[in-house]
Symmetry: D3
């Protein structure tokens, strides 16, 4: 189609381009282990791999829940534990205060309500999405009111007590809320070395730079004053 | 470990269970075509497959944007086009009104603003997530202000004009907003036969049943009145 | 099995080898974004990523169809749009001339024929395969006669008009042919960041170096003269 | 957005639709074994699975090469060997006659030519594509001239002798040609339970119904007479 | 190639075959949820899905470790928790007795040994493989000596205390052994809805029917008497 | 949540981390070819790729079976054949001696036994697992007694003769044993570029460093003397 010289330089250009691109997926590994090497974006030299590359301590420590939400998430993903690389799994510990230190003092225990509970400002892991992982959560201490929303806006909720487990499907909005009068503790397994977390309210009202007021007022059908007020909560 | 009889019945139970479960994924197909059969949850009999199974008309029709958001999405996924089954692709047409019929009348064209634009209530495809697809969008008519937010709450935005294309990565919150004085039209390719759409505001404030007020007030740091007002917008 | 020293050096050799290999797949990404970096074969430094990495202009431009086939394909894949990396999607614009400039002048509009049409040398996107992508095509202007062939040599065809869409399954031979008297324009979404295109006739008769005459004569059951004539068309 | 009743029936319709679709992929299995059950499109009841479900005999039989191409392929895929289901592997035996019975009699052995060989009409596995599998081929008897073409139309060829192996990447056009004076035999491993085979010439000239003459004449830049002649070879 | 009638019946046979096969994989789901339906091998009707489909209780219960190994595994996979279907995750609780009830009484606490410990018959989760899952384990109570072996027979071991976590890569032989004087409890996240477990000793010496003595004596280089003795331990 | 400066340095730290990690998977390639480059952990420069990158000789050579097991495996994976990279396939030749040179002299041919055979110390490919590949094996010479064990410890066995093929599902323990009086030869296709091989006995008794005696005695329910004896066989 094109003259020889042009074609040849085109081919060279194509080759120059074609040997680049793409890095970073999940499925089945190609090697037994491929420990993440922070300096080279490659597998760590197998000769230098030790058992410590697969080890992470500290899951016995209670998270600091002295914050607005009264909760703390300790997600151990591939950034913290390089041995997780290519293995499609990670784990988190989540602590929930019995009452938020930011909002108010201790509350009376809630009366046994119908679903959903209607009044108590307890520790909350707020609505969020893991774009790359499903999650199975087990309650070790306390009680949680949990839920997720499917793409047709159907809400599934459950009150969980000690020893109960629950599944949050990949990509769905979900939350956990301390439903009891004591601290709650949960562990979660997640189906990715790097699940990612989108706290929905933060993504909308706390992004850098902020999303346009016009978009937000129209999205939530509220005035700018309300939008701006919420935004100040996420600075 | 267990006595013979018990063991045998255990094995039988295990077998009874083990030949069930799991259906519905994306990657590389196992057959040339596997047209979705609505009655049997299986591939349509190949003898009865015709070209019409791979065909869908109507992308030339302008969507009805006479709604609160001033936008209309026509997503052709595997439910509408059974031939998409196992093929990992779908397509959408999106129309954006020049001004929302619900909020007000025609507006003066916006002065060329800095990013982001600060005032105009034009047609909006509100912040949403496709949990199972990346999206590439091309503008056929008009201008759009588009953006997406990554999991570290970084916002990437761009003003697109006719002929411009833009990519929204899988699982990220993104939106498009009519930035001009005329109708806007865009087409989008999506990397799944069933991308799914989570309109974030709807998931939080319009779910059935609704998410607990306690969760929502704490999530957005607003009072119940505001939460309830927003909820009424999504009934 | 082997003596100590030999075994050790074997292990070292094995290690030296085992931390290499493999790069370049499609499925679900491990990070929100991984913009292709042409210099390093790795993800671009996230600090340097901007919205422009996800942007590509020019889809409003009509392709140059003044060539033998009377068609022009503008495929925007990861080489042109680095932000597509790891996202499993790309997009193309295809233009089809109403009559080929190479073969002859304007033709009378074809009479409404039965399938397939029998005479008109209009713009053709010739039989080709995308080895890594399914394709959904939508017609924006004009009419197209399209088709694909499955591995059991069954042909599925359809005449598409403005607003019609059609699916070509991954790996199948397919084509589009301008069926009308005006220019035709189509957009296509493809389920890979790098679909690849095998124009079948070019692969067989236009490869560098050429495929042996013996293979081609036997493949098509024609004499060398015919093979050589066709080959000259693809130089 | 819509009135209650309409919305409800819409939801019902959506549900009715949403629990269908999709079947048939390759990656990592969910169970140890899932033997294909021809009657139910599901895994065979594990209680009825036997070793024979994983067994296939006859690879010692020489294929019948008394045909135009002088070759015979015995591909054992999941249709023949149900135990291959979900396992991503299959195997083929290929026989190549030393001279084609259709074209002529026995030929003098070819003089040692440069690449490519220029004259002898020996047994040919003609240019074809496996849309779902890479292939590794090993020569057990005889010599083969083999090659594949990448999407930038670059041809890679090699002469293989007894004991030599060669790789054909997934989705690429490739062929094998008997390069010697004796029968040749090869075995091939393929990376799918159902690789699929597109014999390129058959797809273009032997499809049912046939591809339009207009498309084929324009594709190969030949006249209708030539197209029709070739078509008769593939009836 | 073949006569018409034969060819047609061949095609019919091919079609009859080709619309079957394959079910059961892991990667990214095609729908928000696809709850396993034990009766139909398909997704449960979404109208009948409830929160209980995603719920499993009892992880607070200590497993019964009164057995030869002094350990108990409670793996909650898709068979027990149908909502896990298509989600690529599961969870297990593992209990380890401080001393085996089968082998002997309570032992003196081990002196701080070098790696590996040399004497104590405590609770053991014996060497096993999950063919379809990586595992991340966190210790809630007690101490564990854990390890895995790569395909080049390299052993990686670590002593874990309360709050420590460790990763076992998919497909590798691994074990956990109670290293302390108290009960030990661990939770594990696994990257599959159905990880599968191969207890290596059981597979070799406890299969039904048993593996041939000739194979086992040669594999372990021991006499039949030893093989037969071990086999009786796994009846 | 955090003060500006802290937040910024946190973000920088996060970015510094987030652009690393992960390399090495199997599924569908992103490019036609990506030849493994041992020096750079990336695709070889396409300009320097030749047909020899896809070629490996020597499969006609009989393996040296003068060892304890009386067998020899020649697995050609991506380490030996760089062109296999990203293609999900590899191949092996396996030779089986008619009698083990280490254990004894030639044996009388076995009488036709029931399944399983009960006495002959012939060449054995001992129980092993490929953690990343299914295998299809074809017998070219001789007879083999083969088997695999599923995760519920069910054994499937078969006697194979010349021309017979058999499938070993991914991740399952399997073996082949020379069942005849002559040399046996088999070829196997494997569904990964790097299947990996875990010889179960070697992993347990021959690891470096060795697995603790306590673990092994408890696993097999034997005394330390037996464990230590077996260990000496795998030094």
């Amino acid at each position: 189609m094109a003259a020889g010289a042009v074609r040849i330089s085109l081919l060279i250009a194509l080759f120059a381009l074609s040997f680049s691109f793409s890095l970073g997926y999940d499925p089945s590994p190609l090697e037994d282990i491929c420990v993440a090497d922070k300096n080279s974006q490659a597998c760590k030299n197998p000769n230098q791999v030790t058992a410590d590359d697969f080890y992470f301590p500290g899951f016995d420590k209670c998270g600091n829940t002295s914050n607005k939400l009264g909760s703390a998430v300790n997600l151990v993903n591939v950034e913290k534990l390089p041995g997780l690389n290519t293995l499609g799994i990670s784990m988190a510990r989540i602590d929930y205060a019995p009452s938020s230190t930011a909002v108010g003092g201790a509350l009376a225990p809630p009366a046994p309500p119908l679903d959903p509970p209607l009044y108590a400002p307890y520790g909350l892991n707020p609505p969020h999405i893991h774009p790359r992982a499903s999650e199975i959560l087990v309650v070790l201490e306390g009680s949680l009111y949990v839920g997720f929303v499917t793409t047709d806006n159907k809400l599934f909720t459950k009150v969980l007590n000690k020893g109960d487990s629950f599944v949050f499907p990949i990509g769905m909005v979900h939350f956990q809320y301390n439903y009891g009068t004591t601290n709650a503790v949960a562990f979660a397994g997640l189906s990715s070395q790097n699940p990612g977390t989108i706290r929905v309210a933060n993504a909308l009202f706390g992004s850098k730079p902020p999303i346009s007021d016009d978009v937000l007022t129209k999205t939530f059908m509220v005035d700018k004053k309300t939008v701006n007020y919420i935004q100040t909560q996420f600075q």
